[in-house]
Structures are given as C-alpha cells and as structure tokens.
Symmetry: C2
C-alpha cells in the first residue's frame, strides 16, 4: 500500500467473495454489478473466455463511471477441456461434483482494470490447479442440501465446508475464490503514478 | 460427513484460525488449549518437529479428557532450512518478512488425533510450498504496524492483508493457516466405526 489511488474504485461484480477479497487487502470501493451474462457456448479457449468476459463486465460499468477505476472479473472451472459454469439445479450440481471427484481440474479467472478517462484497459488472467479427494455420494448430497452451491462455478466453494475435500492446489488460492489478489495487487498499483 | 462421531471432540489449541477451520467443516467441539510450548532449539527435521509438538499438545489434554477425541497441531515456517517461529518484536518481524520476500518457503503442520480410552494416537503432517512476490519495505512496515503479526509463525497470515503478496502455493492452503483440512477430514473419519 505504497501509492495513492488517484480515483474512486468500483467493483463491477455482485459476488460476495470478490467483495470480501478486496476488503481483505484494505481497499475502499463501491459495488456496481454489470449486467453482462456469460454465454458458455462461445467458442474461446479458457484464458480468452475469462479475459473476454472480465473486459466486457468492466467496460459496461466504466462507460457510465468515466472518472473511476473499474474492476471486472470472470471465473470458470475447466474439467477435461469442458467449461463448468454455475449449476442450474441439484442434478447438475451432483453431475459436476462427481465429475470432479478424485481428480485435478483447472480454475481460470480473468480480471480487467479499466479507467475510461485515463484510457486504461489492463486485462489479464490466472490459472490454478485444484485437486479433490474422492467424494462419496453422501458427501456430495450433504453439501448440495446444506450449502446449495448454485451460485458457484463448478458447484463448490473452496472456502466453505467443501474445503475438507480440496487436498491440494497449485497456483493462487484466491484465484479459485474469484480474484487473484497477488497479481491484481501488482497490476493495479503499477497503474498508479 | 457420513459417519457418527462417537465421542466429544476437543481442540487442544488456542489458535483462532484453527477454531475457525474446524467450524468451517461443520464440526462441534470444545477448545482446551495445552500448556506445551515449542522449543525451536530442539534438533529435529521439520516433519518430525511438528509431529512431535502436535503429539505432545494432544497428549497433554487427552490424559485429563480420557473419553474424548483430542486434536493437537503445530505449524512452522521453514526458509533455507531454518525454522521461523513467531517473531518477538517488530525487528524480528521485519527480518523474517524480508528474508521471505520474492522467494518460496515451506510451511509444515503436524496434526495429532488422540483418544485415551480407545488407545488412538494418529499423528501425521503436511507440507505446502508458499511463494511471495517481492515485498517493498513500505509493504513490510505497513503490514507490521497495522496487523501486528506477532502470533504467527513466519510473521504473516495468508488469510489477511498479506494475501496480496502470496502469488502461488503448492499443496494444501489450510495447512498454511494451521490445519490441513482435507487430510484431517480423511484421517479423522477413518477412525470412526
């Protein structure tokens, strides 16, 4: 925290996890969610997919908040080259979790930092490998019934009860939660005078 | 959570982080800290060091709570084969953090699960590699002044503001916080009938 942030900061996301993470590193900001929705049918490689949506989300809020820094982000889970979004219901949730059981998958987050007046558009992504223990059906049903993970890509939260089943990660932990804090911090403060 | 826990559970640690982690995986338990103190001069390799102290901590509480499961744990940070405990003051804190800057170190946690009446003594350890961004002196002083990390091995908390400087881990994240949840969950429920 060695530089002055010269404009107000806006988080263009309604994710409570991203809000918590930005607070964790002592930033002051306003939340203005974008109205951009992901379309999983778009044919893009995962790094391009998350960068594309992070950029769209930041842009949509930036153009009506021209004097502010705006942060957009997009997170997806990729298993066997298939993108997993948010599960629509219990069945989809069960399918996703059992497909991830006992294996390693990848989590991509794209981040876009924009400032309309300053003509800043810095977009980057991070990837983290996540390894699960083998899940029993009882574990999966307990989790779905109790935690209702329908707002989470891949149908799990690495920071809740499900943490009992994540035996290893390789990469940035906070990337899995939805915002890679270390790379965000480095890129963001590099933009300040 | 597919088996009944057949005795009360005690956490033999006053660490607020370990308490938070056990709650996170929906366990009900009492906290009875042990009075065992680490002696960093003991000549043991890191995995033996943390296992030794985890076991001593669990034993000291188990012998007066014979009908309970007791969990002891011990966490150390190891950099260039040197064990870093908790810093005694600002100077030690500064020394530790600058020695870790821009490099990868290891975090070991030993865990011991004991039940006196059932003659259970299950002790194991986990290791996680943690990589820091390069820290400026301003970053280090900001952190020490604001977060006073004197109760933390290695002088940092991976879950607080310092998360902005941890660019990568390889292994269990919760191991770095003080309790490797996935291996604990697996070992603990394997003990139940």
């Amino acid at each position: 925290m060695n530089k002055i942030i010269d404009s107000p900061l806006i988080l263009a996301s309604k994710s409570p996890r991203r809000k918590k993470l930005l607070k964790q590193i002592d930033l002051t900001f306003k939340v203005i969610p974008s109205d951009v929705d992901e379309n999983l049918d778009i044919k893009l490689f995962p790094p391009d997919f998350v960068s594309h949506y992070a950029k769209m989300k930041a842009e949509s809020v930036s153009k009506t908040n021209k004097g502010c820094y705006v942060i957009g982000a997009d997170t997806i889970v990729v298993n066997n080259e298939k993108i997993l979004g948010k599960p629509k219901n219990k069945d989809e949730s069960y399918q996703m979790l059992s497909s991830l059981s006992g294996k390693t998958h990848k989590v991509y987050t794209g981040v876009s930092i924009q400032h309309y007046d300053y003509k800043i558009d810095k977009t980057f992504h991070e990837v983290t490998d996540v390894s699960f223990n083998t899940l029993s059906d009882l574990d999966i049903y307990y989790y779905i019934d109790r935690y209702k993970p329908f707002d989470k890509a891949g149908s799990y939260g690495i920071q809740d009860w499900f943490s009992a089943h994540v035996n290893k990660i390789n990469g940035c932990y906070y990337n899995v939660m939805g915002l890679p804090l270390a790379s965000f911090y480095r890129h963001f403060f590099a933009l300040m005078k």
